[in-house]
């Protein structure tokens, strides 16, 4: 086991715990940069998809994992980010401005929606946000002059100061763009977690009463969380638009919202790793399944509902046996190796928490 001696408080708030984890993540970054030279264009496209889903997952993770507010409406914010990016570019705004603006617009609208919605708790909030997903579909159809309605839209190739990026003809460039956005988002997320706002999120998640007594403004904190979450999701939505190559009112459906929520639960709630692990599952599961079905039967039969069935089964198994998700399992395996041979079976078992002070509402 690595033991690290800290000699200043800065040691505790830096991004990487110690030299070892810094080198691990550097290797990971190097692999990510070298990836286009290692794998073919098809799998590079799939990796791009993983990263886009991971960004969206980080967005929802901030709200659900960190602040404890479930949302099934995030497909609406993916759509909002996607459409506002494309519409801004059509109005002549360059991509380098339109893309962050799409995130900011989505964030602001998310905050406005948050104020009424976040008066609800738990499952009621989830139900209320389903309405957003469903409404988004209709609104896109109604706003046809801007959104193209049912016939949809095709994003024009990205142009950054004359440097063109297109998803199909230049997958490597698009991959690097997505990678840069992923890195920036992850950095922002990490920074939030180590600053007062990130702790306020955790406080709201675990006990609103005592968060209030510590001076945390509950409604404002939740709305901020919702806003930042929607902003990140909006960025992912804009990238998803480019990745899909064409989108209409049905691209960002309720199913996407559900997949997103399932993804972060499977990955591991409340951790950055969880968003990435979950994104791998979401993006590669359809591929893995099609390879599997092909290997079982030679003729090309598609089994309807197989994907969602397997997905649901995975989710149920995780909730039953590993509520901390893939990341939780990963932590356990890592600890086992670090402590070898002293790891005990019950090390991660937690005591049931005690009776909470009676809730005030």
């Amino acid at each position: 086991m690595r033991i690290q001696f800290k000699t200043s408080y800065n040691d505790d708030i830096r991004l990487f715990e110690d030299g070892w984890s810094l080198s691990v993540y550097s290797v990971l970054l190097f692999v990510a940069i070298a990836l286009p030279f290692i794998i073919n264009d098809f799998y590079l496209g799939e990796m791009t998809n993983v990263l886009i889903w991971a960004i969206a997952g980080l967005g929802l993770m901030l709200l659900t994992g960190q602040t404890g507010q479930a949302s099934l409406g995030h497909a609406a914010f993916l759509a909002l980010g996607c459409y506002s990016n494309v519409i801004l570019i059509e109005q002549g705004v360059p991509f380098i401005l339109a893309f962050p603006l799409a995130g900011i617009i989505t964030g602001i609208i998310g905050t406005l929606i948050a104020f009424p919605a976040l008066r609800l708790h738990g499952v009621y909030l989830a139900i209320a946000t389903i309405a957003l997903s469903i409404l988004a579909d209709d609104i896109i159809v109604l706003l046809e002059p801007w959104t193209g309605g049912v016939s949809g839209k095709f994003p024009v190739p990205i142009d950054i100061f004359g440097f063109e990026i297109e998803r199909w003809t230049m997958p490597t460039r698009f991959y690097y763009l997505v990678l840069v956005v992923t890195l920036i988002t992850t950095l922002f997320y990490r920074n939030l977690l180590r600053s007062p706002l990130g702790r306020a999120f955790a406080a709201v998640r675990d006990s609103e009463v005592s968060a209030m007594a510590m001076g945390v403004h509950i409604a404002r904190t939740k709305a901020t969380s919702f806003g930042i979450s929607c902003g990140i999701t909006g960025l992912a939505g804009a990238l998803m638009g480019y990745y899909a190559g064409a989108f209409n009112n049905e691209t960002f459906s309720l199913v996407i919202s559900i997949q997103l929520l399932m993804m972060i639960v499977i990955g591991g709630l409340g951790s950055i790793h969880g968003a990435f692990f979950g994104a791998f599952v979401i993006a590669f599961l359809p591929q893995a399944l099609s390879i599997l079905t092909k290997s079982i039967s030679s003729d090309n039969v598609t089994i309807p509902g197989l994907e969602s069935g397997v997905f649901a089964a995975i989710l149920v198994l995780f909730i039953l046996f590993e509520p901390m998700g893939i990341y939780g399992r990963w932590l356990k395996i890592r600890t086992w190796f670090e402590l070898f041979p002293f790891a005990r079976k019950d090390m991660f078992r937690r005591q049931k928490s005690y009776l909470k002070t009676e809730r005030l509402r």
Partner: protein, 255 residues
């Protein structure tokens, strides 16, 4: 002028009068204890000071400021910190993070600065960390610094909650049953800490407690409540020998 002044506070839940025309004042630098049988309204008084409940009538003044004009999340900023009867910690965070949340009232940065982790945020974090570290030293929490709350024993959680309140740097500390559920040794520790909090840190303590041993050893004045109204007020010995108090606790005729 007293640090905390409560005049004619009344609170009703439906037909139940939880606090009935209660007045008392806590002087700066003292340890003031509220005792009383279950359901006497002790914790309700705390929740009124924390502004979790709106009183029917009465005035609440702290340090010359009207508490009724503040929202619950603005109370901490005045310098009032509290603990809860049944421990309200942030279970999925470490001890260190819990204590740092106590510093939330000193936050001066906005979310954009925090997202970029601007130098200002880092400086503030170092100050927060130093303040929290003093609390950790004071309460001997070093072995638990990076442990998750969810895995800690009850006695330690109680201390962490006290630490979180102290970390905010309060003028007035509200302790809701600091010794409930603690062993004899832990209660003894709590007694010394409350003494030190008052003497070394100069923090005024208002506490609700059932353990009369603890109350009589640390508090300067005691208020006895029954059915939301004042029964007796005075030094611990005076209150304990008051016939009305004995009757409320043990029933009529026991004295």
């Amino acid at each position: 002028m007293s640090l905390l002044e409560i005049n004619n506070a009344t609170l009703k839940f439906g037909g139940v009068v939880a606090v009935n025309d209660l007045s008392f004042a806590v002087e700066e630098g003292e340890v003031y204890a509220i005792v009383g049988p279950n359901g006497a309204g002790k914790s309700t008084v705390f929740n009124l000071i924390s502004r979790f409940y709106d009183p029917f009538a009465g005035s609440f003044r702290f340090d010359g400021k009207d508490l009724l004009k503040r929202k619950p999340d603005q109370i901490a900023d005045l310098g009032i910190a509290r603990t809860f009867q049944n421990i309200e910690l942030f279970d999925h965070a470490t001890v260190l993070q819990n204590l740092l949340i106590g510093r939330h009232r000193h936050r001066r940065s906005n979310f954009v600065q925090e997202m970029l982790f601007a130098p200002k945020v880092r400086r503030a974090e170092l100050v927060n960390r130093a303040a929290v570290e003093q609390v950790i030293d004071f309460l001997d929490l070093q072995p638990y610094r990076n442990k998750m709350i969810a895995g800690l024993p009850y006695g330690v959680r109680k201390v962490v909650e006290l630490g979180r309140a102290l970390a905010s740097g309060p003028k007035l500390l509200l302790l809701d049953e600091p010794a409930s559920g603690l062993s004899v040794e832990e209660t003894q520790d709590m007694r010394w800490w409350i003494d030190d909090i008052r003497k070394q840190m100069g923090i005024t303590v208002l506490m609700v407690e059932h353990d009369m041993g603890l109350v009589s050893s640390v508090s300067d004045r005691v208020l006895a409540l029954a059915d939301g109204a004042k029964l007796a007020e005075g030094t611990p010995a005076e209150v304990q020998s008051n016939p009305a108090v004995i009757e409320a606790y043990l029933g009529a005729g026991a004295a």
